[in-house]
């Protein structure tokens, strides 16, 4: 009995697993994952060192100027892998630094909570030294005094791996005073969160790091001008920072070449697939890989069902159709089709699954996770949920779809401090656009409003 209990626990225990075997992964083609073991073991410090680890730090610190580092990252065109796709080099070039400006902070956003996203976990759990190396280089480029890894509280394995890696790096002199004899001082602390999706928004993350409620802040000033404790602060996603060491080691041209003409963006991407597919998973592939290639790698849809729709990169991206499977998944291309690449992890919806029900689930998530700071978000999202619930029950009213469309506009960009509400509006807008008939089927009173005012105005 005990044996069977422990074996069930063991067999069900979640293990983050890249779906490419070590034999397929090479340093020249898989900069993020080539070092990883096949059996999910974290890569040891010595192993990392033996495989060119911290070589970029040794090569760059004290030998290249921070501006030279920024120029290379800018030229490589590393787009923010947290989902926004903003150029990391551009962000770094906008950080205030120089005479009389205090040194600030480099914050790694490891608050991975976007629905359908399970990529940063891999790097955090299995190769934390790559992230630390990327952060040292980012700290150097931005003249940061100190780094933080803002990790979601539920990533317990990752916290263990990162804590150990920070100790190893510090003991070996890669963190602390005068790193590698360069005169550059930099250290990193792990900051674990306590829940709430909104902490992944960069200004809310800063509020949370400062020990407050995770309310976002208006921009400008941008964090690069005034972030944590009013100091210049750079916030980058885990995967973004993990791209940096290889760029500085192998050069911009090599990095640009990784996408092999599929995309104007350079590098590789951690792509994934979840939902009712035969073999869901995670892969490091050239940026610009198509949805169809990913769906094929995932072994197609279970029970030979057809694809109805898909989200290209998390709950805050727009629904796409089967015809969009041929598009290269990069930031600019997906942006032209009413969606965003987001995190690049596909959520697959099959023919028998209801778009209205899924959308209701997504909007419940956004309503629950709203921090409540801005009125359209705090009050609008529960309203959206209520309407969707009634449509799902077949009790929608005439005008509900138009009302949802109107709400989507009012939740859109520019109406709130942060991108939470616009993120909720995108799947809403695109679901209605592509699947209006499903919404119409949930409306029971086609002729007139169900709840016509029971007391006619003027007759009381």
């Amino acid at each position: 009995m005990t044996a069977s209990r422990s074996s069930l626990r063991t067999s069900l225990r979640y293990r983050c697993q890249l779906r490419q075997a070590a034999a397929e992964r090479r340093a020249e083609t898989h900069p993020l994952t080539w070092r990883l073991h096949d059996d999910n073991r974290p890569l040891g410090f010595d192993e990392y060192l033996d495989m060119d680890g911290y070589a970029a730090v040794r090569e760059v610190l004290g030998r290249q100027s921070p501006d030279e580092v920024i120029d290379q990252v800018k030229e490589a065109n590393v787009r923010g892998r947290g989902g926004a796709g903003f150029s990391a080099g551009m962000k770094w070039s906008l950080t205030m630094k120089g005479e009389g400006i205090p040194r600030g902070y480099l914050v790694c956003n490891a608050d991975e909570m976007e629905p359908g996203t399970f990529k940063d976990r891999l790097l955090l759990e299995q190769q934390p030294h790559l992230l630390i190396e990327g952060m040292i280089l980012g700290g150097y480029a931005n003249n940061s005094r100190y780094g933080y890894i803002f990790l979601r509280g539920e990533y317990v394995e990752a916290a263990r791996a990162v804590t150990q890696a920070l100790e190893e790096a510090r003991a070996a002199g890669w963190l602390g005073k005068d790193i590698a004899g360069s005169g550059f001082d930099f250290d990193i602390a792990l900051h674990t969160g306590a829940g709430r999706y909104i902490c992944g928004e960069e200004t809310a993350l800063i509020s949370s790091l400062e020990g407050s409620r995770a309310n976002p802040r208006a921009k400008p000033p941008f964090p690069g001008q005034s972030g944590a404790w009013g100091k210049p602060t750079v916030v980058n996603n885990v995967e973004t920072l993990c791209n940096v060491p290889a760029i500085l080691r192998h050069g911009v041209e090599w990095y640009q070449g990784l996408s092999g003409g599929r995309s104007d963006d350079g590098g590789t991407k951690l792509y994934g697939v979840s939902g009712r597919v035969n073999e869901p998973g995670l892969w490091e592939l050239p940026i610009g890989t198509t949805g169809q290639e990913l769906l094929d790698l995932a072994g197609g849809i279970r029970d030979s069902k057809a694809l109805k729709t898909w989200l290209p990169g998390g709950g805050s991206t727009g629904f796409l159709l089967p015809e969009h499977l041929e598009l290269p998944l990069d930031f600019d291309t997906v942006g032209q089709y009413g969606s965003r690449m987001g995190t690049g992890l596909l959520t697959v919806v099959t023919e028998e699954q209801s778009v209205v029900a899924l959308l209701r689930n997504l909007e419940q998530f956004f309503a629950r996770e709203s921090c409540g700071w801005c009125t359209p978000c705090r009050d609008g999202l529960p309203w959206v949920v209520k309407i969707l619930q009634s449509i799902e029950r077949g009790e929608g009213e005439q005008g509900d779809i138009e009302l949802l469309e109107d709400l989507a506009v009012k939740l859109g960009p520019g109406k709130t401090f942060c991108a939470h509400a616009p993120g909720a509006a995108m799947p809403l807008q695109s679901a209605i656009k592509h699947f209006r008939d499903e919404f119409e089927r949930g409306i029971s009173h086609r002729a007139r409003a169900a709840h016509e005012d029971p007391i006619p105005v003027g007759e009381v």
Binding site: R5, S6, L8, R9, L12, R13, Y14, Q17, E112, M113, E114, P115, G116, T117, F118, D120, R121, R152, G153, E154, Y155, V156, E157, A189, H191, T192, G193, A194, G195, R196, Y197, L209, E210, G211, S212, R213, A214, A228, W229, K231, G272, V273, S274, G275, R276, P280, G281, G315, L345, T347, V348, Q353, A357, L358, N361, L362, Q364, F365, E369, C371
Partner: protein, 174 residues
């Protein structure tokens, strides 16, 4: 798996505002955290987590006690404590079950898993079994979407968990 017989251990609910004393180790752990940040308020979330590790939740009296150590207002600490979903301001069970209810787990039918949990435990989201063993809560996408439906029990993440697995899996948590 019948959770209704026993009553909650008194020790977990007896702490009220007046009686709370911050444990010396916890105070030192909080003071140690201060070194990582430019201002003491930043250690607030970690301080709440330190107290929660000892007591299972954050008792009322811990709020002013933490505020005193950090040198900030008690209302600020309470504001933070009530904002974050993994800080518990009321007693929870010995084991906390976090069920992912986000999109990928929705598409792989977390609802059937939730129904099985609710049936076996006799509680719904937000409730604790009367023997004080389990609390059931929803959680944001656990980042285990390739193996949905997923859940966490204490520090352990599992997936995919079938409804039939529930009773046996829970037996491992006394």
């Amino acid at each position: 798996m019948n959770s209704t017989a026993a009553t909650r251990n008194d020790a977990t609910i007896a702490t009220d505002g007046d009686a709370f004393v911050l444990h010396g180790d916890d105070r030192r752990a909080i003071e140690h955290e201060l070194a990582h940040y430019e201002q003491p308020q930043a250690a607030c979330i970690e301080a709440l987590k330190i107290v929660q590790r000892r007591h299972g939740w954050v008792p009322d009296g811990a709020i002013p006690a933490i505020a005193t150590v950090l040198g900030v207002g008690a209302a600020d600490v309470e504001g933070v404590a009530t904002f974050y979903s993994l800080i518990f301001r009321q007693p929870v069970g010995r084991h906390v079950i976090l069920v992912c209810d986000s999109s990928s787990c929705f598409l792989t039918d977390y609802e059937a898993l939730y129904d099985a949990l609710a049936e076996v435990l006799g509680i719904r989201f937000g409730q604790t079994t009367s023997d004080g063993r389990f609390t059931l809560l929803p959680v944001c996408c656990l980042g285990a979407c390739d193996r949905g439906p997923a859940l966490m029990i204490d520090d352990d993440t599992y997936g995919p968990v079938e409804p039939d697995d529930v009773a046996e899996l829970l037996e491992a948590y006394a």
